[in-house]
Amino acid sequence: MNAKTKFDWGKLVHWRFFMPIVCLFLVLLVNVIQTPDFFVISINNGVLYGYLIDIINRASELVILAVGMTLVTAASGGQDISVGAVMAVAAGICCQILSGGAVSTNTLMAPMAIAILAALAASVLCGAFNGFLVSVLGIQPMVATLILFTAGRGIAQLVTKGQITYVRVDSYRVMGGYIGACPVPTPVFFAIGVVLVVNLVLNKTALGLYIESVGVNGSASRLVGLNSTHIKFLTYVIMGLLSGVAGIVASSRIYSADANNIGLNLEMDAILAVALGGNNLGGGRFNLMGSVIGAYTIQALTTTLYAMKVSADQLPVYKAIVVIIIVVIQSPVFQKKFRSMRHGKAVTVNAG
């Protein structure tokens, strides 16, 4: 095909960022029509203010989770549905240590570093538990993580003794609020930091390649000398750690640990972000930045639906429909039908 004279639509459609960006564009377009001052960013009380900032701020936990979910999906061909529950556990442990076991506190009962480290250790443990079930025992990822999906919130309730633990200390609110006079909300830095670090690790070491090859063909990777068990296990541990980080940020936002509601339904959003990012939910090659764009798209969608007076309880209906549409488009059967429809009888094999 003559690329210079003819714009190659096929190439654009198969560009890996095509779907996430188109979706994001669509959602933003709806918003602009609905609220003309959507892109207006102003400074109120020394902090940035506006719809866009709100979306970017609130998407932070989701971005962090989507990064982990992408790796888990790529390596094991399944998703971790326990992330919301693990967030609740991490938040519960963090707040409980800071409050010294009391329901509410105005002064820190323990150094913040210890509380955060303990929370992260617990979430890594949760990740390791999932990873063990998936990689060593070979259980389907979603069934294995189903255990913590239901038990996790129970454990979090147990940690917080069934109450909402409040930590009314300004230094604890920094992670979900603002650092000093910085106008940008702190969660945004967490999200950017996680994306940068994970990207760096994947690009500067061979880990990214290993994860892809394990996901594409586990037994072949083992034959060339990769320990696929270790790599799958590692992705779940990373997922656990990132869930912990997201949990602490979420709990810092509301300066409390609400075992029932922290990270509620976030597993669905994270999976949605991964799917929207053009990743195959069956594992294999992955596209980290696609997932990140996907995460922002989901948050934009959520904010839009809230703006359209859809209640939080009803939100899942729309998200479920979006998931189904995406997975149907992604499904090999549908793509085959679609391609044969476009090319008539000459069905070409797509190398990508």
């Binding site: 069934v143 255990i147 669905m268 997975v327």
Partner: protein, 346 residues
């Protein structure tokens, strides 16, 4: 055809099936006996306590039977809890706000279940999408739709419905009070329906072609295909049946709770999956019985009544203990499958 299918079943670790079922029944007997010994003063030893296990779990028994069917084909359905909530809410809404009869409510419950079954079954069997993703979307869709119908709790006051819900069936067993009056144990019609479903599905799985085809597909989809089975159609039927049973189970659940609200039956899918797994259904498919699943539900019920009778432990312990049991059985299965798998490879 039938003989070939029976062969497939028999060649697949016959010992493991009986072994898992035996562990389950033994576990139930041990747990219930412990309850009878420890809480003898709190009425745990009375026959009615045993009947209550069935009464409070009649809906769950039917739902778990449906889930067992799809798990035998190697699939899964985590939307059943949301379907239950939706069914309860729609039934309550129809009867209380729309003035419809209880028959219409039952019909709508079955139709909702059928719709979920058909859509999810189509996406899973004809478009080859992972069952987990499809039914996860179903889970969120059902829960969200429940909120669309109403965010308020609707209590059912329909006279005929309450008559159905409270029709006691006295049994010849019971206990005699100190003054000599005999108090018979009772069950509700929901229990009878649930037990009939268990018997029907057992017959279907063991004696009908369709039942044997389910095992064949779960055992090895590729060889089932090569034997000339229409794998897609059988899978589709399995999900439709599962959806129907979820609708019926949801209605039984509603007869027990007599209300519809958004948070209802949250986590029921977990109870149903763990009941099936504890009852000896392999997550990888090909192995499972509904009788085992029935015992799985009874074990769940026993844990719940032990914890409520104990009194000081909070209710989320039920989920934690159940999750731990599920974990134990999953690991057990993996070990059994691992041993069998290694032998096969060599």
């Amino acid at each position: 055809m039938l003989d070939k299918l029976t062969l497939v079943k028999k060649s697949k670790k016959p010992g493991a099936v009986a072994f898992l079922l035996m562990i389950t029944i033994l576990l139930f007997v041990v747990m219930y006996s412990i309850g009878m010994i420890v809480f003898v003063n709190k009425g745990f030893a009375k026959p009615q306590m045993f009947m209550n296990l069935f009464i409070s779990n009649a809906g769950l028994i039917v739902i778990s039977c449906g889930l067992t069917i799809v798990m035998i084909t190697g699939g899964i359905d985590i939307s059943v809890g949301s379907v239950t909530a939706l069914v309860c809410m729609v039934a309550a809404d129809l009867m209380e706000h729309k003035g419809m009869s209880v028959y219409m409510a039952l019909l709508s419950a079955l139709l909702i279940g059928l719709a979920f079954g058909v859509v999810q079954g189509f996406l899973i069997s004809y478009l080859d999408i992972q069952p987990f993703i499809v039914t996860l979307a179903g889970l969120f869709f059902g829960r969200g739709m429940t909120a669309v119908v109403s965010t308020q709790m609707i209590a059912v006051k329909n006279a005929e419905f309450l008559q159905w819900a409270n029709a006691k069936i006295n049994l010849p067993i019971g206990y005699t009070k100190k003054n000599g009056t005999f108090i018979p144990s009772y069950i509700y019609p929901t229990v009878v329906v649930a037990l009939i479903i268990v018997i029907l599905i057992t017959i279907m799985l063991q004696r009908c072609n369709f039942g044997r085809e389910l095992y064949a597909i779960g055992g090895n989809q590729q060889s089932a295909l090569m034997m000339g089975l229409n794998v897609r159609r059988v899978k589709m039927k399995a999900y439709v049946l599962d959806g129907l049973l979820a609708g019926l189970g949801g209605f039984l659940f509603c007869l027990n709770s007599c209300a519809g609200f958004v948070e209802q039956a949250k986590g029921l899918e977990m109870d149903a999956i763990s009941a099936a797994v504890i009852g000896g259904t392999l997550l990888s498919g090909g192995v499972g019985t509904v009788v085992g699943t029935l015992f799985g539900v009874l074990i769940k019920g026993t844990i719940a009544s032990l914890i409520t009778t104990q009194g000081t432990l909070s209710s989320w312990w039920v989920r934690i203990v159940l999750s731990a049991l599920l974990c134990f059985f999953i690991v057990l299965q993996a070990i059994i499958a691992g041993v069998g798998g290694k032998k096969l490879k060599k």
